[in-house]
Amino acid sequence: MNAIFWEISKRNIRLHMLRSSLAMLGIVIGVVAIVSMGILGNGMVMLVSDSLSSVGDSVIVMPYAGGGGMGMGGGGRTADLMLTEQNFQQIKRVVAPNLAVPVHSTSERMNVGVNSDDIIATVYGLPPDDVPDMLQLEAGSYNNQDSGCLVGTTFAKDHNVKVGSRISIGSDGQYGTLRVTGIIEERGMSFDISTDSAVVVTDKWFENTYDVNGQYDEVVVKVTNGDTATVKTTIEKQLNRNIKEKTVTVIDSKATLETIYETFGTITTFVSAIGGISMIVAGVSIFNIMMMSVNERVKEIGIMRSIGTRKRGVMTMFIYEAGIIGVCGSIAGGVLAVLAGYGISALMLQTTEYLVTVSNAITIFQGVAFGIVVCLACGIYPAWKAANLNPIDAIRHE
């Protein structure tokens, strides 16, 4: 449209610099609120997805514990809630050719070296043949001796354990001493087994020590083709035939991860929406100053109309005004939001490594665009009102 309207809008904003800046400040705050909340949310999602391990797709089968859902991870052993050897064989048969790994787990006291403090850690008992399929080592070698064990990387760091170190299991080493043959790579929190702070022993050693032959805490199925949902239903169909008395609870790690991400996505949206409230406040102030601008310039508008400016021209002039405030405020807000996002991430997530990401770029773009849209939307009614003033009324009031 006509460049002269652009000129007039610019000059009018400059003439009323203070109030234009205040309106801009509102938009700046709105954009900063929305975008920095978005950045925080994105950071949260990244942090969670980084710490939840993605060690391939797996399905976890646990004994059915009645109505409620199951907690994730190994957890303690309850005598009457165990999977039987028969359960395991059934699972193994229906999921073939996928690998089914029976898992023993318990919490146990232990000591590293002489006179050291007691440590309490999870002990997993796994068939040695299956371990290489589930766990990667960062040092040492896999263990297939009942006198050996593997330890998680956090465990190794925290207790200064190296390949070759010895760990006494049980209070006062009542269950004997195991030699560490390898350190397991960091694996993060996982739905199947969380090994970072744990000790992994052979199933034989575990069964002999705790007398739990043929009783498993869970069975982990490694799904090779990624179709975890089908494996889950197959197992449920086979083992939970009796609807009233279910045998197992089956967790689809992939679906659960997706649910977790969705939940965080929802939280991010919700938090951003709270930021949106400040945008509404900013919109109201834009609306206000636009109405002021229209009321002050009733006469000028009347003259413009009487000497040949169409309604649309008047409208354009005011939309430009709202647009200039919106674009400047939103872009300034976007820039500040990056700084604010940096600050909040550093403060609340203790890290800023998730700042430069595509999702943050989208969040910033959306925030800035939203700010501009809000300004334009709030400028529409005042602009419309200005365009539809009766030029006679406007020039009559001297």
Binding site: M1, S306, I307, G308, T309, K311, G313
Partner: protein, 222 residues
Amino acid sequence: MEPVIRFADVSKVYPLRAGDVTALSHVSFEVERGEFIAIMGPSGSGKSTLLNLMGCLDTPTSGDIFISGIRIQDMTDDELTDLRRDRIGFIFQYFNLFPLLNIIENVNFPQMMKAGEVVDETKAVEVLKSVHLEESLHTHTPLELSGGQQQRVAIARALINDPDILLCDEPTGNLDTKTGASIMNLMTELNKRGSTIIIVTHDPTIAAYTQRTIRIVDGRIA
């Protein structure tokens, strides 16, 4: 030849809550090209109403108005706006220049509306010269000018699109006698060069510059 303005039995009624106000009733007259006319009458008699109708700022309640042969009723708002822009020049008592624009931009404004873009200043400079405004003032803003100078700028703005008619509502009402006289001399000069001019005024000495006077009393031509 078609008259520039033709009013045929025109009435204007303002419907108000306290009762209808008949500002004009059954007015008929014609203005020929090149005429210089004064409209006189007591306050509230309907002079401004008449001028606004001639200027297509308003439409009559009944009767027909023709501007350069075009009937203005039933025209859309945009069409009326373009008619004002291209065929009519307005001059107001309070000058009504745009304070945010400089003198050249003010004068160019109707031309920019017509072109739809910013235009160069050649024509504005030429027109400002014809209304005798010093060139040193061209880049000033209106509020830095005297009343007489502002009115000259307003006249230049009214002339920029070569209108058929100049409509002036009390153009000297806000000026001292001497400045008023110089503005009227300018008007006379413009009329001699071919402009059709209609001036609303209370002042008989202003009316004396014109060739014909239309008197209005209580919304009727007397």
